[in-house]
């Protein structure tokens, strides 16, 4: 097939869709550090984790040796409702940039959750259902994960309790309504429903909430209700496992047409999309079968990889979760209020942190007005209105394509277009009105929060 003209969009047949997830940890010689119990500072056991997470998901979280894990048929069937996602050749963007580079993007936004988050949400809901649970709890910031989980729970008839960062709850009423339409219960966080929420409200009466705080509330809600567990949409290794479907589909589609990417780019908040996109390619690199450049793109206002420290830290503000070794800005770090969209988590997936530390992956940070410029440029030629998060990857892809224009190199660039921006029009309005600003934390800002890292 390699001599055919590459279509605008490559869709796999159902029969070509992956039947197994790929676990990149299996091919890492040096594995990510284990999660620690904050009380004992010893590696957490499956038994301890099973109080918080579903049994099967705990097994996946701790499994760093099995390279492939079967995708249950029920999940495969759900995937068929909105997958395969298209691998798009950005012909119009290439033309607009006048670059010799060949640009591809894997577009994960064509589903009602508006992002790739559904790939892991349906898996987590499935295992919760299989375990006979009544429901699950979670947190959501920008709302993509909460929407995805609401959809997944509605499909399996599970109760879904979402703690939504207060400022998002108020600024994004429509995201909230999508979740409610799927039957979810949405509570602004910090709430007065949990001990940790009441404590945070007492300490910071006018707080806008944060992801770290909503996580603490959701974990408390899960562990204090019979038949509930907590689920998380990013950061965890199990999430990267489920998201490997993005990279696997991309690779099958590219192999089919004899395309080999030189550079693979993804936006990075907690790491779910980037980790999923690069996994099978990174596997080849780890096994010495091929080489690729991987670039993580993060916001300059929340730069965990490029300016954080690699250390054990809490995953949440309330310090109820296990400690994870990761690139982190400290769990008390808060991105500036002018930061729009997601990618605002203080730490990075343990897998990606370790790969970055081993110099197998690069990272860059970009400022938000430049990100929205790239988003608008992309929207006008490629038709798709991208999510602010995804636009970080667009910005870096455009930068790489423009370098090719200078050097004349015909590099092949693949980036992850994680989602659509339909619920982010406040931010676009700010940009359209010329009122968007940038903010880069000072070294002192970052030192203030990394100084508070737990002593391990």
């Amino acid at each position: 097939m390699s001599n055919e003209k590459i279509p605008y969009k490559i869709y796999l047949e159902e029969s070509e869709m992956p039947k197994q997830w790929y676990n990149v940890r299996a091919d890492m010689k040096k594995k990510p550090a284990p999660m620690l119990n904050p009380a004992t500072l010893k590696p957490v056991t499956a038994e301890e984790l099973c109080h918080v997470f579903c049994d099967e998901l705990v097994a996946q979280e701790l499994d760093d040796t099995s390279p492939y894990i079967d995708i249950p048929e029920e999940i495969q069937n759900f995937y068929k409702m909105y997958r395969p996602s298209p691998l798009v050749r950005a012909y119009c963007l290439e033309k607009a940039l006048d670059t010799p580079a060949k640009i591809y993007y894997k577009f994960e936004g064509n589903n009602t959750s508006g992002s790739h988050k559904l790939n892991s949400a349906i898996a987590q809901a499935y295992y919760a259902k299989k375990q006979g649970l009544k429901g699950v709890t979670t947190e959501t910031g920008a709302g993509q994960w909460g929407t995805a989980l609401s959809m997944a729970c509605s499909y399996f008839g599970l109760d879904c309790q979402v703690y939504m960062v207060k400022v998002s709850y108020e600024q994004k009423p429509f995201r909230r309504e999508v979740m409610r339409t799927y039957g979810a219960n949405v509570t602004p966080s910090p709430s007065m429903d949990t001990a940790v929420g009441r404590k945070i409200n007492a300490e910071f009466p006018n707080t806008n909430g944060s992801l770290g705080c909503a996580i603490s509330e959701a974990v408390e809600a899960a562990t204090s209700q019979e038949g509930y567990r907590y689920v998380l949409g990013s950061v965890l290794s199990q999430v990267l496992l489920h998201q490997s479907v993005i990279g696997l589909e991309s690779k099958i589609a590219m192999d089919k047409y004899g395309i080999k990417p030189d550079i693979i780019i993804g936006c990075a908040g907690g790491g779910s999309n980037l980790g999923g996109l690069i996994s099978p390619f990174m596997g080849e690199k780890l096994r010495g079968e091929a080489d690729y450049r991987f670039i993580a793109v993060e916001p300059a206002s929340c730069p965990s990889l490029t300016r954080g420290v690699y250390a054990y830290d809490f995953c949440d503000t309330g310090a109820v979760c296990p400690l994870q070794k990761m690139y982190t800005l400290g769990s008390s770090f808060m991105p500036s209020p002018n930061h729009a969209g997601g990618l605002r988590y203080h730490g990075m997936s343990a897998i990606l942190s370790e790969l970055y530390d081993q110099k197998l992956m690069e990272a860059v940070s970009v400022e938000q007005t430049a990100v929205f410029e790239a988003a608008t440029r992309f929207a006008r030629v490629e038709g798709i209105l991208p999510a602010p998060e995804s636009s970080h990857a667009i910005k870096a892809a455009i930068d790489e394509a423009l370098k090719c224009k200078e050097t004349g190199e015909e590099k092949t660039i693949l980036f992850g277009l994680t989602g659509t921006g339909y619920f982010d029009m406040y931010a676009y309005e700010k940009f359209n009105d010329g009122k968007m600003t940038d903010y880069i934390p000072t070294d002192a800002d970052i030192k203030a929060s990394t100084d508070k890292l737990p002593k391990v």
Copy 2:
């Protein structure tokens, strides 16, 4: 291929995509009545129409004999960016309804405009560009058409001036921002920029605006600026021609798998989606090659087919457009303010009106709370959050599938899922809160506006 298991989604290959539009008028023995010049009451000439519309589009509007019209390559290329749209087998909905019916839907919502409107927008923008125009003007109600046209104009570098019904402009700021992101100029209508707008504002100082009024303003803006023409997203025969791509793709996909629909259902406002979806199937029926049931579904609050009269009427409130023979509630008819979403135009496409009058198509009307119940039911099992407009078709499809459950018939149902509801969450919120109401106009309401029909 007919013995294969039908996949969840059927995507055509690029090479299988239609290269010609189908003009159903060519196969109609009795053609739709010609448009009349309101001053002379004689059929409008191409020359008269060319002051308002682009030359090539006028030719298409008046051509009721050519069965096929080539899709220019530039438009085919744009179609490749977001088409083919998937033909989806609604396995999960069938299971939830426990029906022996086989349900398919053609999903047109997976593009940034969120609906099928882009199919005609890109064609109209292309012909405007080809004619060397500076820009186009239009009106938009719910905002789907305005968004689609903004995208199309941005692609071809045309200026785009959108008159947006004032109540939508205020209630749907995010739609407005999507248009602005694509570079369009959006003005709430009635405005003070046009003579007709100033007149309407003087007469009705607190008016919320209407589609008919926004059309009048857009036409005036087009005819009073050098290098501008007016474009319209529905009702016109040229629009149904462009939208035939929906039906053509559906038919190619179904033929590929040996599927023959018994019933074809679409929502009907001005008729653009329904007309496009049914065209090639109706062609077979007109030529005596096959038989199908066609069902137009309209809101009970704006029932032009089921309760209107078949007569010449104005297309706009300001009476600046030609007269069209159509099923109409009268150009002064206004749907009740509690009506959510689109499908609020007073008349129906001349082609569909004539087909309905010849009893080649049926029509039903449905109330909006029942429509939102169907929408929610559909969203929870099929994953897609539908637009309120599209949900009219869902409601009718579910009703037909439930009839099959009673009779045990294994009918094949195809319906058009025209778009997504991401910008309609106000309406969903009302429904979720149990505050949505229905309204059916009285006979006196309808008589009041049909009494004002022009005397022809």
